[in-house]
Amino acid sequence: MIRNILSYYERKNKVGAVRSRKNEYIWIYIFLTPALISLVLFGIWPMIATGYFSLFKWDGIGWPSDFIGLKNYVELLKDPYFWNAFKNTFFYAFFQTLIKLPIALVLAVVLSETLLKAKSVYRALFFLPVILPTAVVSLDFKLILNPFTGPANKLLTDLGIVNMPIDWFGMNLAMWTVIVVSTWQVTGRYMVYWLSGLQTVPRELYEAADMDGANAFQKFFYITLPSLKKFTMIIILLGFVYALRVFDYVKIMTDGGPAYQTDVVSTYIYRLAFESQATRLGYASAVAFFFAMVLLAIGITRTITNRG
């Protein structure tokens, strides 16, 4: 009798558990719905659709219907403007990474130096440019580097370093200007990354080195750098991939000029999509898809390195 009652309650509880489980699942999927919709619309769809659109000749009106297979890609392979932009994008990313990471590392090392007081004030000030809008930074430097009215040339001529004002956005110099300006803005971000990396280096190593009378340089080259090997790989790839997304600085400061010397893939796609006489969204999609695949490949490499 008692056993019967017990098993009755057990059954009832189980049924109740199953029901509340089901009920729970419903709520779980309801909670996920907004994220899933947004994931499909703005995460998955753009990638698939870019690949799909790239197979069409399409002026952007209505839905693409003029299927041309891989013709856009054949054109892409022979397109000198694309390869110029491709080369410029990698040039930009390579040199920006090469400049920003060492500067950021030196800043991070100095700003964790125990002798230095008010570290957090310095850190915040070096970090400051990171939080400014890229449009603000780009135009601020357009003013500062203006060949005739800007303070940069004024200073250089006043000091007698140059006789003629320098055209910072002129031939053969514009790309370097874009690199330096963007580096100024992003370095603080990498300083913060390095700072968090430095915290992982065991204190005892430095203490032991102090006992042996090592100087700051020796500590840096024999302790800090070797301890950060894996971290360095991660930060290089991260910094490089970030830089490959360049658009704002180029669009605002040079718009790809002079003579396409600063044209990057993103500004080229923008031109194809919005500024050419006949909008070529099919071809623009092919360029975008090709480059997105390149970035994805680098990104996947990065994830693997991150794990390994």
Partner: protein
Amino acid sequence: MSRRAKTLILQIVMTILVIIWIFPIVWVVSTSFKTTTEMFMDPLNLIPKEFTWDNYVRAWNLANFSKYLTNTIIYSVFSTIIVLFISSMSGYVLGRYDFPGKKLIFVAILATILMPSRYTFIPIFDLVRKMGLLNKLGGLILVSSGVNALYVMLFSGYFSTIPKSFEEAAIMEGATFPQIFLKIMLPLSKPVIGTVIIFHFVSCWNDFFFPLILTLGNPNARTLGVGLYAFYGEYTTDWTGLAAALVISMVPILIVFLMFQKYFMRVMAGGIKG
């Protein structure tokens, strides 16, 4: 060399460096208060001889920066609210429950980090246009509040650390699923909410690409960044007016940064470990 001397030298060197480093910011603020003549004559002088508000008046009224500022605030605020809504809800169930398809959804959300959205904007542009939201703030808000893996991870990571006992009492009392989320879990996650608000607000404020392409046909929907770009194109020689517009565009974000500075840098540093 004594410790004190070392500290002093280090302090002086770093102070000089940091002053050079932030010179571009100080310079633009100073220029925004100068007359055009003074700016041409003496661009290096940091303290204006003749202090003027004219540049701000021009930027604010003539160049429409009052409108751009309002747009940017509306867009950043609404986008932040939607992002909070999406990421807290999904982070909650991903962090606390097991259900069929969980792994797949997690991986799909994480994979968005790898997606170079800067390059796959044509379908997004097309979609917004077909929804009739092109050249409207609504389109921009929608696109900018797309699911963000970092925020979802922050929420799910945080929620997964809260002990089960927190909601057990509530379940006993008959609280429903959404009630537990809203009344118990969400209030507990204030630190994550704060992080997401600051991060997303700043990134909306600073974004240039999507605001540009989604408002190409309507100057009234421009944000500050796009407005600055247009200003530079239209009033090419009004340097001091542009300087004032630049200051208007950066002051709100500077205030946000100064208020949450330590917090902000800590979260950013955390980003690299993920």
